[in-house]
Symmetry: C2
Subunit: 175 residues, 2 copies
């Protein structure tokens, strides 16, 4: 049975070790379960607690979750499962960091959100952000969105691991 301890991370691990545990736990969680709401809900928790087990800046992660394609409105993202404070409900493709990742299908690594053209400020505490598209059959079906309360929260190591996580989610979930 899945247990809360899946999202408990020992202090003192390196970022590489923590992400390896996230990817391994994610693969285990998705065995025999393809429901996207269930899997994204547990993944948001897994990632949030993983990042909070690491030193600054990653323990300053203030929002971690997902937006998915809005089934009612074309070219629009709608809020999915997350950990953190209440968030914007919908985001048009091309708008802000999330909308840009959805439109371009390219990860957006943003060290300072204030400098990002058209940045949508759901939470004034967020200072840096990474958004990774989840692509299924060539189409963006969802995005991973993580905000950090300090600048330069994420780097290429986060990007590589989160892109691997996005790939696992694309293979493991029926969106």
């Amino acid at each position: 049975m899945v247990h809360a301890e899946a999202s408990t991370f020992t202090d003192g691990l390196t970022k590489r070790e923590v992400y390896a545990q996230v990817l391994e736990q994610a693969r285990t969680l998705f065995e025999g379960q393809r429901n996207w709401v269930c899997n994204l809900s547990n993944t948001a928790s897994l990632l949030y607690h993983a990042l909070h087990s690491l030193p600054s800046p990653l323990n300053m992660t203030n929002w971690c979750g997902f937006y998915v394609l809005d089934p009612k409105t074309p070219n629009q993202l709608i809020l999915g499962p997350f950990q953190g404070h209440v968030a914007c409900q919908t985001i048009a493709f091309g708008k802000g960091v999330c909308g840009t990742a959805a439109e371009t299908k390219i990860t957006q690594l943003v060290p300072d959100v204030e400098t990002f053209p058209g940045h949508i400020s759901c939470d004034g505490n967020s200072q840096s952000e990474i958004v990774v598209p989840i692509i299924q059959g060539g189409k963006v079906v969802a995005i991973i969105d993580i905000d950090c309360a300090v600048k330069s929260g994420f780097n290429s190591e986060d990007q590589a691991s989160l892109e691997e996580l996005a790939s696992i989610l694309a293979e493991s979930c029926d969106f």
Copy 2:
């Protein structure tokens, strides 16, 4: 635009005041938005942060979220949006506190989960629990599930407010 501050609660409010703010914010959030994943995701955040703004025992809430009907398996709940640590993915109707609320359509207020017959221990830290069914057209479509890390975390005042929240969710979401 919906903003993170919707889930920021001033310290020093009474439980009654905090729940009144939760219900008002929930109604505002759901205006013009009936997507259940979006609405349950924001509601889990709203509730979690509301409870954490209150004194003990409510600030000891360690899990706050939803299970919904599993679209693939009859008489089974599946994990929905939540705040907290990774959780059990599916729960059969009739099993544990959540399954009992789903089967009986009656709120389960459990001061000590260890004494509840067939309790499912997703998280060994949880000591008390409240589960409120969300009923649409006479049918349970989801449940609100809140765990507390101390015994007797919830009382009849929580029950009344959460039942009102369940009623708002039933009216406001297309499940």
